[in-house]
Symmetry: C2
Subunit: 296 residues, 2 copies
């Protein structure tokens, strides 16, 4: 079964023989990430790690982005500490768009202090990208990476998180609704960047996105589950900081300002032989995911 690019380097290496050693293939983006020194990685705080456990045992772990949506993240911490998401469900899965979860009954009472109000946290009035992509962005004048490890777009004065695969946002009704922070969605398809600046992004899935993206698509309008379909139960939601020290999962991200990230970005924008023959010379912001990995 012929494979697609990522196995190329491996195949190439296999093709080498003692008699005729093959030229060493260039480092792939993942090779570069694997070789990045410890100094290039930044630890994600335990209080920014939100762990959803599904009925099938799978975990969906979300890294929160308090610097971009402080009010929503504050309310999400209230919700998780009140165990509000325990016994809720993933009730909407729209192909090439989003998986959405929360209270499908619409009857569950929100904790004190949590309501659909407050500021619309769709943009930050600061924060041009520390690291920019080589080619233009199709949705904004500037796109790149914030030093804190997030993909952002900017108009030169303000900046905002971009709706890349795996990003997590807050469902809302029509403006002026900003969402209560209780109904969440994750992007499971091609980045719906038109949502940028129109809805609040509060984080990204850093483990288990496939537990959402591989769910049966909803047969109802907009991918809401039909009467004959069973939403996926969410057994519990916990902050890593609320778990016993020994039970906390730890993660780290590759600092966008590190030399290793610069090499990774260049490799993503210019894929190399032996598999690739025509490098694009660029990539969009969602084709250069910030590397995040479990921390030992």
């Amino acid at each position: 079964m012929p494979i697609l690019l990522p196995l190329a380097a491996a195949l190439f290496a296999q093709a080498a023989t003692p008699a005729q050693p093959a030229p060493k293939p260039p480092l792939s983006p993942s090779d570069i990430v694997a070789a990045a020194p410890a100094s290039a990685w930044r630890t994600i705080p335990d209080d920014d790690i939100l762990i959803f456990t599904l009925a099938n045992g799978r975990r969906v772990i979300v890294q929160l982005a308090p610097a971009f949506a402080p009010r929503h993240v504050e309310r999400m911490r209230v919700l998780v500490n009140a165990r509000w998401w325990d016994s809720t469900s993933v009730y909407r899965v729209q192909d090439n768009y989003v998986a959405q979860w929360g209270d499908v009954t619409e009857k569950k009472k929100l904790p004190a202090g949590v309501a659909d109000d407050g500021p619309a946290e769709y943009i930050r009035t600061a924060g041009v990208p520390s690291v920019r992509l080589t080619r233009p962005d199709s949705f904004a004048s500037i796109a790149g990476f914030d030093a804190s490890g997030w993909p952002i777009a900017s108009d030169g004065k303000s900046s905002w998180l971009t709706h890349c695969y795996g990003m997590v946002g807050v469902g809302r009704d029509l403006a002026p609704s900003v969402g209560s922070s209780a109904e969440l969605y994750a992007v499971i398809g091609h980045a719906p960047r038109a949502l940028d600046r129109n809805i609040a992004l509060v984080g990204r899935v850093i483990e288990g996105i496939d537990a959402l993206s591989s769910l049966e698509r909803g047969t109802g309008k907009l991918g809401f589950y039909g009467d004959a379909q069973k939403p996926t139960p969410i057994v519990s939601a916990r902050l890593a900081s609320a778990l016993p020290a020994g039970d906390r999962p730890h993660f780290e991200y590759l600092a966008p300002t590190s030399p290793a990230f610069a090499r990774y970005l260049h490799a993503r924008e210019n894929r190399e032989p032996p598999f690739f023959t025509v490098p694009a010379g660029g990539a969009d912001i969602c084709n250069v995911p910030v590397p995040v990995r479990p921390k030992k």
Copy 2:
């Protein structure tokens, strides 16, 4: 459960009361497509419609692109007429990348005339887009739509199909391999545009992409199915042109050169109130899928 944008118009309409009629919301992209006149639609030839039927009963229907990959499509017609894909399987599902199918055993003999040879059909030496996007593309100097209904990118001299969600390509090994046309993949995540010009695209899924995108992800390297996983059997593959006239599914696409498509493109690039408040003023080529629908 607060919803995301697409239901906005509907909600807005519901908000209207006889006493205070709400202003009519602007037409959404799907409203524009639904309102497009018959003259804006083009029928897809029966010989370009390839129907894969999975063991679970789901159909994955692919529109072939002979104008872009004539040799591959010619070989695919030989393969389907030889019923080569019957009793093969979907054996690789890599999250946010591709689902791949064909002969997982690597032992199935190819029909006469089908082999991993011939020209690399990665670009066309013609065909600047008939319709262009408003904003720049992150991977090429020009991006837009071919009059024949396909998303393409171009350098001003040549053009090529773009790896958008649902596009179908031919798996290959390292160059000079071009693939035998027997092992195919469909994009099930954010468009891996770095593959453009490096691998042959031969069509797009026009029905049933979710039957591939919702499959369990492979636990092996690159999303190949592990020993404990069962590939999804492909019961049969047939060209619509090989079915009795009454059994043939028919499809049509919205002509990119039609006024209705221009309105659709503008609406996709500038999402409107009542849900959206900040239009992007642009979109990437994969955020403006060419509308394709069953033909009555």
